[in-house]
């Protein structure tokens, strides 16, 4: 059953290939609220301007001017936790990177796998933000128990 649009996790997908972008949006939008852009700089602008916050950012690795790793590293520096998922072919990614800090989905992937991973990452983001909120609240001193 579909959740109400405003209750669903919010996912930002970034890929310079518009056909791939449209197909990923079609796979995900039954389960999550999907926003798409083909420009990494636009993705950063959306993250800056969006007060309710995205739970997950999915980025393709191969993009001109700013690749997916550079984008996700900038997303990870933001104060609010956002789960980061890099979608990439193995050789193009392992060609240059051995770092982590984001999840990696290797091409080719089954659409079911993408949906499951995005939902899992949205839950991770939700939990981390909840824990962050609890930590930022002042502690209530323990009450004395009367015997």
């Amino acid at each position: 059953m579909r959740q109400k649009a405003d209750e669903r996790p919010r996912v930002l997908v970034v890929d310079d290939d518009r056909r791939v972008l449209a197909s990923i949006e079609a796979v995900l939008d039954e389960h999550v609220s999907v926003h798409c852009t083909s420009q990494p700089t636009e993705a950063l602008r959306l993250l800056d301007s969006d007060s309710s916050g995205f739970h997950v950012v999915c980025a393709d690795y191969c993009m001109p001017r700013m690749n997916g790793v550079e984008l996700l590293e900038r997303v990870a520096q933001r104060p609010a936790y956002v789960s980061c998922l890099l979608i990439t072919g193995a050789d193009e990614y392992f060609a240059k990177h051995d770092r982590s800090g984001y999840y990696v989905l290797l091409k080719p992937f089954s659409p079911d796998r993408l949906v499951a991973l995005v939902l899992q990452l949205a839950r991770v983001a939700h939990m981390k933000r909840t824990v962050g909120d609890l930590k930022s609240r002042p502690l209530t001193p323990p009450r004395a128990i009367k015997s």
Binding site: E92, P108, P111
Partner: protein
């Protein structure tokens, strides 16, 4: 010398084919991925309509699309595995020997100086592949300036060996180096723009890397490789 030159040419042809195959593989994967995602979406929509149960060929053909896309992807991976076509010959090699081999086969006018330490610095790898990687970096260097000047420094550092190629050209920023590592990027007419990619791929295969070092004059590109472990 002519045998060495032929050996490098053959390895270089493999390296170019490997880079081009990697680009083709990437594009085909994206196309196949878009088909698979689109089919998945359509299948989930059609499943909720009477057409799914009334016409048995509909689920059958969706299954066929999925199977064929997965098979095509596997085929792309298998048929474009160029690297597996050449048997690699990994041996203990002198770093200076690899640089000499590369420098002696550089195409075009060049004035290459080599600054090597007095002792024997050894690396473990395929001499011809490493020669191709160094030659690709050297050719970029000598083409960057009119006199074809390039200086190669061999620097052993702990368990690594850095082969630094410095030129007297206009120099590079980190951003222009990143740009130059994009496949098929070139500023030289008649060139493929794969030299840095080939050097990077060969370096990675040897657990090494290619990086840009800041420099006040010209460009400095470093090929970092593991040194042969001391016995």
């Amino acid at each position: 010398m002519s045998r060495s030159r032929d050996a490098l040419a053959s390895v270089e042809h493999f390296a170019i084919a490997e880079e081009i195959a990697s680009l083709v593989r990437h594009d085909l994967r994206n196309r196949l991925g878009a088909i698979r995602n689109s089919s998945y979406f359509l299948q989930r929509r059609v499943k909720t309509t009477p057409l799914w149960s009334e016409e048995p060929r509909v689920p059958k053909f969706f299954a066929l699309i999925e199977d064929e896309v997965v098979a095509a992807d596997a085929l792309v991976h298998e048929r474009l595995a160029i690297a597996e076509l050449r048997a690699r010959n990994v041996v203990s090699a002198s770093a200076t020997g690899c640089v000499d081999l590369a420098a002696s086969t550089v195409r075009g006018p060049s004035a290459i100086e080599i600054a090597a330490p007095s002792g024997d610095v050894r690396i473990l790898g395929d001499i011809e592949e490493i020669g191709v990687a160094i030659r690709a970096l050297l050719e970029n260097a000598v083409e960057s300036n009119e006199g074809g000047h390039a200086l190669v420094e061999i620097v052993p550092t702990g368990g690594r060996v850095r082969i630094v190629i410095a030129d007297r050209g206009p120099g590079m920023t980190e951003a222009s180096f990143e740009k130059a590592t994009e496949p098929l990027f070139t500023t030289k007419p008649g060139r493929l723009g794969l030299g840095l990619n080939i050097a990077e791929r060969i370096a990675r295969r040897h657990s090494g890397s290619v990086s840009h070092e800041p420099s006040e004059r010209g460009a400095r590109i470093a090929l970092d490789l593991p040194a042969e472990a001391a016995k």
